[in-house]
Symmetry: C2
Subunit: 341 residues, 2 copies
């Protein structure tokens, strides 16, 4: 008997909703027969999009959610007031075990608030981190935490390191993933107060492969598989990554188009160039999981197209089949519960 992973998808979230979201969901169920998608959103709009495609009807279900949470809304208020929004309804499905996971390209703030207040933390987990995969020369690394809860404490970072390690090993398939803490030098005595306090605690974790500090310069070279940092620094890394990449690609394009000779060269070189640049495109890796909750919540980029939505849905399947929450509970949450007793 095959297990079906049930994924609730926020059909109204992000810049390209519902068009690209619906397309991504259809692609997911067409290409994988172990997925069922609940498209949560304004029913009429969602059904109008669905009409464009052929797909196994029993594996896409539309769940009506008349309200929409906008990108700029204050998240706490939005989650509290808009009970009929796609985000609140989708997360409640995870809470009620009607879905295994929830995927949204909507407001990051609302996803974080909803994840914690509706889906809820696994007992013993102190703070759920948002952990996107970022592209590197070597493949991809997990950057944990990029959420909204800044000023973390050392014990939070230790839990991030463990959850990140479990995720990379069991969902992404990296054996014995190298875990490093973001620092301003390679030596143990370097760093700010938080890093200096966290470093010895990570060294004591025998269930992870802690390799020490990583300087930001080494991140794009793939210097570690799990990159641990508090959310302010993580946010800076994530957004600077995007900013520098898009600026440089713009500069390269401008260079290629600046003379007649270079334009001819560009026409010849572009197909190959696009192919290698694709390996550096974060969209390939799907969304960022919000870990440590009673169910999986995945936040994908606000500008997500269908391919990213599809990849985010695939992520949920491995997460669910590998029983990641069970492992997190067993290896982290229970441990911390015992320590506190």
């Amino acid at each position: 008997m095959q297990t079906i992973t049930r994924v609730a998808v926020d059909a109204m979230g992000g810049d390209n909703a519902p068009l690209e979201i619906v397309k991504g969901a259809v692609d997911a169920v067409v290409s994988h027969d172990d997925i069922k998608v609940f498209l949560v959103g304004q029913e009429e709009a969602v059904r109008a999009e669905l009409k464009k495609y052929q797909f196994p009807a029993e594996r896409i279900e539309v769940v009506d959610a008349p309200e929409v949470i906008e990108m700029a809304e204050p998240p706490v208020q939005a989650i509290r007031k808009k009970k009929q929004s796609s985000m609140v309804i989708g997360m409640n499905m995870v809470k009620q075990k009607e879905a295994d996971a929830f995927v949204s390209a909507g407001s990051t703030g609302a996803v974080l608030v909803g994840g914690q207040t509706i889906v809820g933390r696994i007992k013993g987990i102190k703070r759920p981190p948002l952990a996107p995969l970022i592209p590197t020369e070597a493949g991809a690394s997990l950057l944990i935490d990029c959420g909204a809860n800044v000023d973390a404490r050392p014990e939070h970072l230790v839990q991030f390191a463990r959850m990140g390690s479990i995720y990379m090993e069991n969902v992404v398939g990296v054996k014995n993933p190298r875990v490093a803490i973001v620092n301003i030098g390679a030596e143990e005595e370097k760093g700010n107060a938080l890093v200096k306090e966290t470093f010895p605690l990570l060294k004591e974790c025998h269930d992870i492969n802690f390799v020490g500090s990583i300087e930001a310069r080494e991140i794009p070279h793939g210097g570690a598989d799990v990159i641990v940092c508090e959310a302010f620094v993580g946010n800076v890394i994530l957004k600077l990554y995007e900013g520098v990449s898009s600026t440089l690609i713009g500069v390269v394009k401008q260079g290629l188009m600046s003379t007649l000779k270079s334009k001819i060269g560009a026409a010849l070189a572009l197909p190959a160039l696009k192919k290698t640049l694709k390996s550096f495109d974060s969209g390939e890796y799907g969304g960022a999981p919000l870990l440590g909750l009673n169910g999986l919540v995945v936040k994908t980029h606000g500008s997500s197209k269908a391919a990213e939505i599809t990849n985010s849905i695939y992520q949920c399947v491995t997460f669910s089949k590998e029983n990641i929450n069970g492992i997190i509970k067993e290896r982290i949450a229970d441990l911390n519960q015992n320590e506190q007793e």
Copy 2:
């Protein structure tokens, strides 16, 4: 009467010393007649390099410094023990007013320690920040602070903002420079404890053009002229900038070389591409000033070639002629002294 700016240059610092350092110094005095350089280093090695060039002899003087501080040495110990090193001798020349500035491509830690303990802080300046210019689409922005003193307090960041503003206006020539604080969202209520405390203080500074928060994504687009942050975050930004740029340029090259067709295209496109990428090369902007000292100390990249050394020496001329230390003293240090009384 023409004023001559006297710059002491660490002939032994960095990966390409003394070869590129000496070449950079020669280029500086040949192209500008208002500069005198003291090449501080192992006399024999420096003179052997100097022999290769023709230059106005009265404007380069060799100062013997038999000891060398290595990149990996613990900085405090190195500065304390190696009294005959190029770094200690060069900084003492600034302290004794025998030189207006000191330029080094050597160990960042040693430059920071030497700057504070030998050259010394301007009275009223709480912490001297290291402030590199980073390339953007629009030109360059000053990233302040990237030093080694992490866990800054709000009053430090306020001084950084003011010193950075003075530097960009008077040395780089940006009128009314836009000052922003690095944050994880544009709204005033966002941020970690440090940013939230600093934000209202910056709003009250009527001598700077404070434009609010800047997200890391906007930095490469040139979203502000002075980018204020504490040193841990600054260090992460600076090094990630380098890491993502070098990785992406590598990916682009790999793409261009991956097929026969693309190789032909690359041959046609490369000259124009190199020209535009040069505008995104931090070497063009010289080194990072360590501000707030009784004299100027400039740290250039460890891998500096002659052109970067020359640019770093030019920086010192403007700094000295525009009397930046006088302005810092008048506008920041005295103000803080008064506040404390």
